[in-house]
C-alpha cells in the first residue's frame, strides 16, 4: 500500500511537469497545426540557463535564500527562452505557414537538433549537477511514503501556472484572441485579431511553461544536460495527444495520467510479470497506453475534433 502511495506522489510530480510541457505542444498545435518538435529543447535551454545563472549568482550574491534564488533564475530563464521561442517561430515556422505540412515539421526537427548542438557548444557536453536550493529533508506521509520540499514546490507551482493559464485563456482579451485564431485564423483576422501577434504570444507562453517545467525537472533530478529535453518532450507530446491534441484541459489530464501510469506501472511491473519485465521498461508505458488509447478513441481522451481534420 505504501509503495502505491509513494508511486502516486512520484507520478503526480512527474505528471505535472509533463502537463506543463504538453500545454505548449497543444497550444501551438491548436493554433497552427504544427508539432513543435523543438519544444522539449526549450525546456532544456531553460534548465541550462538557470543552472548557469545559479552558479553566477552564488558567486556574486552569496547568502540569498534558496527559494528567492530559484524564483529569480526561473524568471530570467523565462525571459531568455521566450525571446528564443519568439525568434524561432519568426524565422523557422512563420515563412512556412502556407507550405506543405511536412516542411515546418522538418524545420522544427532541425531547430531541435540545432538547439541541442548549440547548448553542447555553449555549456559543454557534460552532465551538470543542479544544486539543491530548497531544504532536502523529506516529509513523511503515512507509514513509509515521503515527499520532498522540491516535489511540493513542483505541485504548487504547476497548480498556480495551470490556474493562471486557464484564467488567461478563458477570461482575457488575449485568451479570446487565441481561441478565435485556433478556430479560424482568417475569420479571427476579419474580426480585428492579428493572428501573427497571437501566434507569437502563444510561443512565448509555451516557452514560459516549458522553462518552469525545465527548472523543476532539473531541481527534482539534480542534474541538467543538453539532451535532457528529448524524453520529457516526447512524453509531453504523447500526453497532449493522449488528452486530445488542441485541447488544454486534455493536455493537463493527459500529462498527469501519463505520469501516474508511468510511476505506478514501473513500481509494479516487476511483481506483475514475475520479474520477467523490470522497471527499465518504464519508458514504453507511455507509448503502449497511447497506442491502446488511440485505437479505442482516435481523437484522444477529451478531443472532439473529427479524426479527418487532424
Amino acid at each position: 500500500m505504501d509503495v502505491l502511495l509513494q508511486q502516486i506522489i512520484n507520478g503526480l510530480v512527474l505528471g505535472s511537469m509533463y502537463a506543463l510541457v504538453a500545454l505548449g505542444y497543444t497550444m501551438v498545435y491548436g493554433i497552427i497545426n504544427l508539432i513543435n518538435f523543438a519544444h522539449g529543447e526549450v525546456l532544456m535551454v531553460g534548465a541550462l540557463v538557470s543552472w548557469a545563472l545559479i552558479g553566477w549568482m552564488q558567486e556574486h550574491a552569496p547568502g540569498l535564500p534558496g527559494w528567492v534564488l530559484l524564483l529569480f533564475v526561473t524568471l530570467v530563464a523565462c525571459v531568455v527562452t521566450s525571446a528564443l521561442n519568439y525568434t524561432i517561430e519568426k524565422l523557422a515556422y512563420r515563412p512556412l505557414r502556407n507550405s506543405p505540412k511536412l516542411a515546418p515539421l522538418i524545420t522544427a526537427i532541425g531547430v531541435s537538433l540545432l538547439l541541442q548542438t548549440l547548448a553542447m557548444i555553449v555549456f559543454k557536453p557534460n552532465y551538470k549537477p543542479y544544486p539543491a536550493l530548497l531544504p532536502t529533508d523529506a516529509i513523511a506521509i503515512g507509514e513509509s511514503a515521503v515527499i520532498t520540499p522540491t516535489q511540493i514546490m513542483v505541485l504548487v507551482v504547476t497548480a498556480v501556472s495551470l490556474v493562471s493559464l486557464m484564467y488567461l485563456v478563458n477570461y482575457t482579451r488575449l485568451g479570446r484572441a487565441m481561441r478565435a485564431t485556433a478556430e479560424s485564423p482568417r475569420v479571427a483576422a476579419l474580426m480585428g485579431v492579428r493572428p501573427d501577434t497571437v501566434i507569437s504570444a502563444t510561443f512565448v507562453i509555451g516557452a514560459i511553461l516549458a522553462t518552469i517545467a525545465g527548472v523543476m525537472y532539473a531541481s527534482n533530478y539534480g542534474s541538467a544536460h543538453h539532451t535532457m529535453g528529448v524524453l520529457p518532450g516526447l512524453k509531453a507530446f504523447t500526453a497532449a495527444v493522449f488528452g486530445g491534441i488542441g485541447n488544454l484541459a486534455g493536455a493537463v489530464v493527459g500529462g498527469i495520467l501519463l505520469g501516474l501510469i508511468e510511476a505506478i506501472g514501473s513500481g509494479y511491473i516487476g511483481d506483475l510479470t514475475g520479474g520477467v519485465l523490470g522497471s527499465n521498461y518504464a519508458d514504453i508505458f507511455a507509448f503502449v497506453v497511447l497506442i491502446v488509447m488511440l485505437t479505442l478513441r482516435p481523437s484522444g481522451l477529451l478531443g472532439e475534433r473529427v479524426a479527418d481534420r487532424a
Binding site: Y29, N33, I35, A92, P95, L96, N98, S99, P100, K101, L102, A103, P104, L105, I106, T107, I109, G110, V111, L113, L114, Q116, T117, L118, M120, I121, K124, V230, L234, F237, T238, V241, I245, G275, V276, L277, G278, N280, Y281, D283, I284, A286, F287, V288, L290, I291, L294, T295, P298, S299, G300, A307, D308, A310
Partner: protein, 376 residues
C-alpha cells in the same frame, strides 16, 4: 519522330554514363582510402531506407516516425541467424546446430523482408483510423517500444544481448555452393583478381548498388501501377478515394508492409556490413533522419529521395573528415569537434533547405498532386 529518337538516345546516354560512373566510383574512391568507399556504402544503405519510407510517406501520405524499427528488425534477424550468439546462450540450440547457424544471406533477405513486412502490417492495423499527426506519434511510439525491447531482452532469456549488442556477425558470402565444394566470395575479405585488389567495402558497394537498382525499379513500377495510383489517391483525398471504390484499409496496410520490407532488407545488409549490431544504431534520431532525407530530397519523387538520402548520409561524413583536417577541436578549445560540427551543419541544412525549397530539393514536376496534406 526524330525528336523521340533524340530523347531516347539522350536517355540511353544518361543511363549508360551513370551506370559507368556508379560502377567505377568505388574503384576511384578506393585509391583514396577505404574510408571513402565506406561512406558510399553507408549512403547506399540510406538510399534503400529512404526508398522504403518514400512508399509510406511519399506515395501513401502516411507520416511514419518509427521507420527505423523495421531496419532494426532486419538487422537483429541477420545478427541472430549469422552469429554464434544463439548457440552460445541456448544449449538446446547448440545441440541442434553444433557448428552454429551460418544462414545464407539469400535466405535471410526474404525472411527479414517478410518479418519486417509483418510488423509493418501489425503497426498499420491499429493506426488505420488515425490521420496525420496522430499517426506520427503512434509510429514514433512503436519505434521506441522496439528499441526498449532490444535494449532489455537479455534477461531472463538472453535474446538480444541488451545494450552490448550482437557481435561476431558473419559477413555475406556470395556464390557459395557447399554441394559442389565452391567456397564462394566472402565479402568480408578483400578479393584479388589478376593482381588487382578489391577491398571488402568495395565488394559490399556492388552488392548494395545491385539492391538499390532493384529497389528503384520496384518503386518505379509501383508508382506507375494501379496500387501506386491508389496510394496517391489516398494521399490526396482519402474520402474521395474510398468513394471511388479503393479499399483504403488494404491499400494503407500494403503501403506499411511494402515500406517495411525495404527497411528489413537494409537492416539485414547493415548487420552483415558492420558485423555488429546494438540498440544504439536504431534511435529515434535515425528515424527522424530518414524522414528528413525523404522530405528534403522531394517527397514522392524517386530522384529527389535518392538525392536527399545521399546528401544527408554522405555530407556529414565528409564534413567529419574536413573537421579532422583543419583540427577544429584545437582551434576552438575543444568546444567544436567533428561530430558536433556535423550535427550543427545537418541541423542548419534541414532548416535552410526547407526555408528555401519547402517542396524539397528535387520535387515532382507535376504540380498539385505531390504532397500529403498540402496547403489548405
Amino acid at each position: 519522330m526524330a525528336s523521340t529518337d533524340a530523347s531516347r538516345r539522350d536517355r540511353f546516354l544518361v543511363i549508360a554514363f551513370s551506370t559507368f560512373g556508379l560502377l567505377i566510383l568505388p574503384l576511384v574512391l578506393q585509391s583514396a582510402g577505404n574510408f571513402w568507399v565506406r561512406i558510399a556504402d553507408t549512403a547506399l544503405l540510406y538510399v534503400l531506407l529512404a526508398l522504403g519510407l518514400n512508399i509510406v510517406v511519399g506515395y501513401a501520405g502516411l507520416l511514419d516516425l518509427g521507420y527505423v524499427a523495421f531496419f532494426a528488425i532486419g538487422a537483429y534477424m541477420y545478427g541472430l541467424m549469422a552469429s554464434p550468439h544463439l548457440s552460445e546462450h541456448f544449449p538446446w540450440f547448440a545441440a541442434l546446430f553444433p557448428h552454429g547457424l551460418h544462414t545464407s544471406v539469400w535466405l535471410v533477405i526474404p525472411l527479414g523482408a517478410a518479418v519486417a513486412g509483418i510488423f509493418g502490417v501489425l503497426l498499420g492495423a491499429p493506426t488505420l483510423k488515425l490521420r496525420g499527426d496522430y499517426l506520427a506519434i503512434v509510429t514514433l511510439g512503436f519505434g521506441e517500444i522496439i528499441r526498449v525491447f532490444m535494449n532489455n531482452l537479455e534477461a531472463p532469456i538472453n535474446i538480444t544481448n541488451g545494450p552490448r549488442g550482437l557481435d561476431q556477425i558473419e559477413p555475406v558470402t556470395l556464390f557459395r555452393f557447399d554441394w559442389f565444394g565452391i567456397p564462394g566470395i566472402n565479402l568480408g575479405k578483400r578479393l584479388e583478381i589478376g593482381g588487382y585488389t578489391l577491398s571488402s567495402v568495395t565488394l559490399y558497394y556492388y552488392l548494395f548498388l545491385a539492391l538499390v537498382v532493384l529497389s528503384v525499379i520496384i518503386c518505379h513500377r509501383l508508382e506507375l501501377s494501379r496500387i501506386g495510383r491508389a496510394w496517391m489517391a489516398i494521399r490526396e483525398d482519402e474520402i474521395a478515394a474510398k468513394a471511388m471504390g479503393i479499399n483504403t484499409r488494404n491499400m494503407k496496410l500494403l503501403a506499411f508492409g511494402m515500406g517495411a520490407t525495404f527497411g528489413g532488407v537494409s537492416g539485414v545488409m547493415f548487420a552483415a556490413f558492420q558485423t555488429f549490431v546494438s540498440p544504439e544504431s536504431f534511435s529515434l534520431m535515425e528515424s527522424v533522419m530518414i524522414v528528413a532525407m525523404v522530405v528534403l530530397g522531394g517527397l514522392g519523387h524517386l530522384p529527389g529521395v535518392i538525392l536527399g538520402a545521399v546528401l544527408l548520409a554522405a555530407m556529414p561524413e565528409v564534413l567529419r573528415w574536413v573537421a579532422g583536417v583543419w583540427d577544429l577541436q584545437r582551434l576552438t578549445d575543444g568546444r567544436l569537434d567533428a561530430s558536433i560540427l556535423r550535427q550543427l551543419l545537418i541541423a542548419l541544412a534541414m532548416i535552410i533547405i526547407m526555408l528555401l525549397r519547402p517542396r524539397g530539393l528535387w520535387p515532382t514536376p507535376e504540380h498539385g498532386k505531390s504532397l500529403p496534406s498540402g496547403a489548405k
